[in-house]
């Protein structure tokens, strides 16, 4: 029994499809799913074959010209780093770390550098830093072997490295982002460096990662 008023006889007729609704809906929905699979398949990026250890792996990534190196020092842990001020700006800083905004050739990204006490392992430092990223959802480890960080480290010290994928979400939809993080421990302090950027602007041959590499390699442990 409906609380709604009875339908008037002059109103548009309804239910012409009857139980066929489910069949028609199922057919249309499957058709659209099939079409979207086809579209995805056609516009999918070319699969990159991972480099083989010891074999040539193409030209080295391009690095933007370093016009002016600027130094930053952690007052709490004592490590220093350098960055090219022409494409990198300090956005936020604390005694133990800094967030750098990168804008290179119209491609934007963020590089966060964070120091931790010696009790924190490089793997823990990466997890903690990535967990603290705001604005990124659906975060998961990047299982693409081509994106694996080989020989990860910070300031020429070997350590841990991980890559992640996620999405920058909004009420309107999702946009994929890529995250690469490296950390190392020198016995007294652990430094973790994480770079975040849109997936389309990221990758091991991108300018964003090239700038991040400059910063990672510039870390001096007791500046």
């Amino acid at each position: 029994m409906s609380i709604f008023a009875e339908r008037a006889s002059g109103a548009p007729s309804g239910g012409g499809l009857g139980r066929l609704v489910v069949h028609v809906f199922g057919f249309l929905f499957l058709l659209l799913i099939g079409f979207s699979i086809l579209t995805n398949f056609l516009v999918a990026p070319v699969v990159v074959v991972p480099c083989t250890s010891g074999q040539p792996c193409g030209a080295p990534p391009t690095v933007p010209a370093v016009i002016r190196e600027t130094a930053w020092r952690s007052s709490r842990y004592g490590f220093t780093l350098e960055y090219p001020a022409s494409v990198v700006k300090v956005s936020q800083q604390t005694p133990s770390g800094v967030v750098l905004a990168v804008d290179v050739g119209g491609k934007n990204g963020a590089v966060t550098v964070q120091g931790f006490g010696a009790g924190t392992t490089p793997a823990q430092a990466i997890s903690e830093q990535v967990r603290g990223l705001s604005g990124v959802s659906q975060l998961a480890a990047d299982t693409n072997p081509a994106h694996e960080l080989l020989g990860a480290g910070v300031g020429y010290l070997g350590g841990a490295g991980r890559t992640y994928v996620g999405d920058a979400t909004s009420p309107q939809g999702s946009e994929p982002v890529s995250i690469a993080s490296q950390a190392a421990l020198d016995g007294q302090v652990t430094v973790s460096v994480t770079v975040v950027g849109a997936t389309s602007d990221s990758g091991y041959r991108s300018d964003l990662y090239a700038v991040a590499d400059l910063i990672v390699n510039s870390v001096q442990w007791h500046g």
Partner: protein, 303 residues
């Protein structure tokens, strides 16, 4: 009146549907939702997102055909409702992409711009732009029932939501079939994009259009039936705020939290809509003399 506040989704969004057709629509909605979850579980996130975005628009299109909602004027009426909703959705999806801060920018600069522009301004403005299509139909005598307004608002809202979600997520579609990501947050996200947010937009748009039709198309006595809620000066801003309020939850809640947030807004939108539909059905009954007292009239004293 308390019963009217019960949020019955199918009868509210598809008011001209006969009661015996409701199970078929529930089944279609359930199967479509299950398909979206299965696609997400298989990590086919871009496909799942398109399926979620198209779930309600496809169901609405079927409903329009099923009840012959546009009568003898299907082409241009469809163009001004679902067609306009899709165009406006693509436009606002592109606009959102243009003004959206990147993930890096959110990390660097915080979320204030994101909350204001994408959480409040765009949903609020987008809602009023999507109403422009149905507003054109308000001029035509052929569509003079309040339920016509409800149908036009709901169908335009469904097309707008789907088109906007697909346009904004175009980068995801270009990232391959299985771009990676955590499954459970994705499922919550798809439920929000495919059901939660579209239902708020459809309900709010339908309620706003019902208020417009009630004010400018219904008999004078019916125009007062809903009180202040039936006046466009109250109903339209209220509906816009409902949409913006639903959207802004995304900016500070987790994926699962936003689903719960949207469920509350869905309940409010559907309850609001059901009251306007009740008036529309009474109006139709009164017009054809099939029973029921006209809305707003004083009940007859027992003889």
């Amino acid at each position: 009146m308390a019963v009217l506040l019960r949020p019955r989704l199918i009868s509210a969004l598809f008011p001209r549907l006969p009661r015996d057709s409701h199970p078929s629509y529930w089944l279609a909605l359930g199967l479509g939702s299950a398909a979206v979850v299965v696609l997400a579980a298989l990590r086919l996130f871009p496909v799942a997102l398109i399926a979620a975005a198209l779930l309600l628009p496809v169901l609405v299109a079927l409903y329009l055909v099923d009840v012959n909602a546009y009568g003898d004027e299907p082409v241009w009426a469809l163009a001004l409702t679902m067609g306009w909703g899709a165009v406006a959705g693509v436009g606002f999806g592109l606009l959102a992409l243009a003004v959206a801060p990147s993930a890096a920018s959110v990390i660097v600069n915080g979320t204030s711009q994101y909350v204001l522009v994408q959480g409040l301004v765009l949903p609020f403005c987008g809602f009023f732009v999507l109403l422009l299509g149905p507003l054109v139909l308000l001029r035509y005598q052929h569509f003079n029932a309040v339920l016509d307004g409800v149908t036009f608002g709901a169908s335009t809202g469904a097309a707008f939501s789907g088109a906007q979600a697909i346009t904004y997520s175009a980068h995801l579609i270009g990232a391959g079939l299985r771009p990676g990501g955590a499954v459970l947050p994705w499922v919550w996200r798809l439920v929000s994009i495919g059901l939660g947010m579209p239902i708020v937009i459809m309900g709010a748009a339908a309620a706003a259009c019902a208020a417009l039709w009630l004010r400018y198309r219904a008999p004078v006595r019916d125009a007062e039936a809903l009180g202040a809620l039936g006046h466009p000066a109250v109903a339209l801003p209220l509906a816009g705020l409902l949409v913006a309020g639903a959207a802004v939850g995304e900016t500070f809640l987790s994926a699962g939290g936003w689903v719960v947030w949207l469920a509350v807004f869905d309940l409010v939108a559907i309850s609001l809509l059901r009251q306007t539909i009740h008036v529309g059905l009474l109006e139709e009954s009164a017009a054809t003399g099939t029973g029921g007292s006209p809305p707003g009239s004083v009940p007859e004293a027992p003889s």
